[in-house]
């Protein structure tokens, strides 16, 4: 799994590629934690390059979303979600708690 981050004017962008499983989810948690620890809570995650997502990855996303939405200080939005990964979100009931946007510009533009 590879993670790249970029800080924009209105939000942070996190691009993840590869597998998000129990082996790699802690690395994603660490990357997201660095952003929220710095007091930034508006995060767009580009999932276009993600091939696999397990419940370990879902746990990271949900705990980050809880943290970001606390006190209405921000939100995590998801962008460019591949069909297979979307089926995981559907099954886990995530579509009601995350905004899923078709591409990165609309995700960044949503803040």
């Amino acid at each position: 799994m590879e993670i790249t981050t970029a800080q924009y004017k209105h939000c942070d962008m996190v691009k993840v590629t590869g597998r998000i499983d129990s082996a790699t989810a802690p690395k994603l948690a660490e990357a997201l934690g660095k952003i929220t620890d710095a007091g930034r809570f508006k995060i767009a995650i580009d999932l276009s390059g993600v091939q696999f997502l397990s419940s370990a990855g879902l746990r990271v996303l949900i705990s980050t979303q809880k943290n970001c939405k606390r006190y209405n200080r921000g939100e995590v939005v998801l962008a460019a979600v591949p069909e297979t990964i979307k089926s995981v979100f559907d099954l886990a009931g995530f579509t009601s708690i995350f905004k899923i946007l078709p591409d990165v510009p609309s995700a960044v533009g949503s803040f």
């Binding site: 089926s87 886990a92 009601s96």
Partner: protein, 139 residues
């Protein structure tokens, strides 16, 4: 009947996925079915490491695949602590964000995406049997 033995650590997940995908593809499962099987096995192996072995590098995981024309059967065996599947909570997928629980999702996904999920505990060996049937073409 291909069998492979993997060290009980999270790094094995990707290697197990390669093994399972190749078996599922040989059967001719669709892309989404292969993904479902890969997910179920990943969740099962993660559970074995976390809950049966209670950590990495405690024991091994034996993975056996059997194919027939219609279905793929995957058997995972470990020597960790047995557990009661009935004690795993069913996640509330409609709960608001604040009340969402972290646990139970993996087990739920295994059950939703496989046609059969069965546990056997005997003589110090835990065996998980999962079956995925090939979707019949629409006539």
């Amino acid at each position: 009947m291909p069998t492979q033995i993997f060290p009980g650590r999270y790094e094995s997940l990707e290697k197990i996925a390669v093994f399972i995908r190749s078996e599922a593809e040989l059967l001719g499962l669709s892309h989404s079915e292969v993904f479902a099987v890969e997910t179920a096995v990943d969740e099962a192996v993660s559970n074995i490491i976390e809950h049966a072995y209670k950590g990495e590098d405690v024991g091994e995981i034996k993975c056996t695949c059997t194919r027939t024309a219609e279905k793929l059967t995957i058997v995972l065996e470990d020597t960790g602590e047995p557990f009661d599947p009935a004690k795993i909570p069913i996640p509330d997928l409609n709960a608001p964000l604040k009340k969402r629980k972290d646990n139970g999702l993996g087990f739920f996904m295994m059950n939703q995406w496989m046609d059969e999920v069965r546990f056997e505990f005997c003589c110090g060996l835990n065996r998980l049997i999962m079956v995925k049937c090939k979707e019949k073409p629409i006539e």
